[in-house]
Amino acid sequence: MITMQDVCKSYKVAKRNAGFGEACKALFRREYETIHALRNVSFTINDGEMVGYIGPNGAGKSSTIKILSGILTPDSGTVLVDGRVPYKDRIRHVAQIGVVFGQRSQLWWDVPVIDSFELLKDVYSIPQKQYDNNLEELTSLLNLSELLRTPARQLSLGQRMRCEIAGSLLHSPKILFLDEPTIGLDAVSKLAVRDFIKKQNELHGTTVILTTHDMQDIEALSKRIILIGKGEILLDGTPEDLKKGGQSIDETVAELYRAYDI
């Protein structure tokens, strides 16, 4: 179970006006602006739930994921994931979760994908038998058999994303964080990724939290949506709650963004 209670997080961002002169001035004296990435964010996610976490760019989605995966420490508030405080008990915590950043790769660029997987096996100290079973299952579900012997740099984006997701599930994590897993994918790959996430959730009861800008992802996957804007949770409910009035979900969300001025 994941609980976040009154979590706040702010950053200091250096600001300056445009131009070379201003850049020189900023070398010596900087003006900082505090940005509140999260203000009193609270929610609870139960085991086996699939939650879509949406909001415009810069709303605080990534900060939330980073706090839940132990990368960042919040300024205040309490965070508990299966009884662990992620940022205090990092190593024990991350052994139980899987994280995929859609815009970054965890695969070694120049070697076949299977080599990266073998390394992950040692990183997570996965027992041989569990590794073999998981690899076999992931290979057939994600259709990886052709890809495993190819260097990551030669994969297409969709192929690479399938491998990234497989890599983050080799150690059978209970919770999977997906930060924009379908960004830039073509229709076929998107469907494959969505299908797989759904299956993974049904088969193993993996809790899935995904951030996305693609409302079809949300419709296809999650029964629950959390909408965040300007660091605050604005809505926590089902896709149906969003869709009142029979418009398409994209229009509704755009309207919501406008209504909340985010």
Binding site: K9, Y11, K12, A37, S63, K66, S69, G70, I71, L72, T73, Y87, R90, I91, R92, V94, A95, I97, V99, F101, R104, Q106, W108, W109, D110, V111, D115, S116, E118, L119, D122, V123, Y124, S125, P151
Partner: protein, 266 residues
């Protein structure tokens, strides 16, 4: 505890192997870089060589003694670069966000950063160092004893640790500046360059600095005095061990940096 260490060593070797496999994908680049590394330090060697054509000695240190000195320092530096390259190029890791990935793995940050890069091309520099070293030991009339061999080994191991400590400081500072700090090269590349000659030739102030602050002299000047037979003080042979204090504050600074990163986000 023992199992933990075994698992860490295994993982590190796995990292090394995957790094080497990656490097082998680009054969030409690998050989050219290695050759380049060799040539860079070869030119420094030529500098010393031509100087000794004119002068017979530098503050009564002979040509072969200086070569021995330079080769040991070069070996230490290259080893540190080979193993510690991940720290040396750490600013890239921060900027690309791959340090976030490090934090999502159930392993220590240091082990993962060390493993992120293993620079096999530094072997070019090491070959150069070994050749000079071989020439140095065969021509400087040292009466080799077991203790003297041990001294050289201590110098190499502890010297590598000192350079590695500097790389760690360099990386730790990236947490605050989010960018590389070229000024740190004064201490790394600078030490390699001044380390060509026995540190005693530069005068008392620099000797004091390199004894107390950044302890290069402990892994170069003093133990070499013993190896050359220029001093009877046997404890000079163990001076390199004293230098092992240096990586400790570096690691503290690193910890502090990681902590800062986790609370500031980037």
């Amino acid at each position: 505890m023992e199992r933990k260490i075994v698992s860490r060593v295994r993982l590190y070797l796995h990292y090394v192997s995957i790094n080497v496999r990656s490097a082998m994908q680009y054969k030409t680049s690998f050989f050219l870089t290695t050759f380049g590394q060799f040539m860079v330090s070869f030119q420094v060697f030529l500098g010393i060589y031509f100087m000794f054509l004119r002068f017979k000695s530098v503050k009564d240190f002979t040509y072969s003694e200086v070569l021995l000195c330079f080769s040991v320092m070069l070996l230490e530096f290259s080893l540190a670069e080979m193993f510690g390259r991940g720290f040396d190029s750490f600013s890239g890791m921060i900027r690309s966000g791959s340090f976030d990935q490090v934090l999502t793995r159930p392993r220590g940050e240091i082990l993962q950063v060390l493993g992120s890069k293993f620079e096999l091309t530094r072997i070019g520099r090491m070959i150069q160092a070994v050749i000079m070293f071989a020439y140095g030991i065969t021509h400087c009339n040292v009466d080799w004893t077991v203790l003297k061999v041990l001294t050289i080994l201590l110098m190499i191991v502890c010297g590598t640790a000192v350079f590695a400590g500097l790389f760690i400081i360099y990386a730790a500072l990236c947490f605050f500046t989010l960018d590389g700090l070229e000024f740190m090269n004064i201490f790394t590349d600078g030490a390699r360059e001044t380390g060509k000659y026995p540190l005693g030739v530069y005068g008392k102030k620099l000797l004091l600095f390199t004894t107390v602050v950044i302890p290069y002299a402990l892994v170069q000047y003093y133990p070499l005095l013993y190896v050359w037979g220029r001093t009877d003080k046997v404890w000079y042979a163990f001076m390199p061990l004293l230098a092992l204090w240096f990586p400790l504050p570096c690691l503290v600074l690193w910890r502090f940096g990681v902590h800062h990163y986790k609370s500031s986000g980037s």
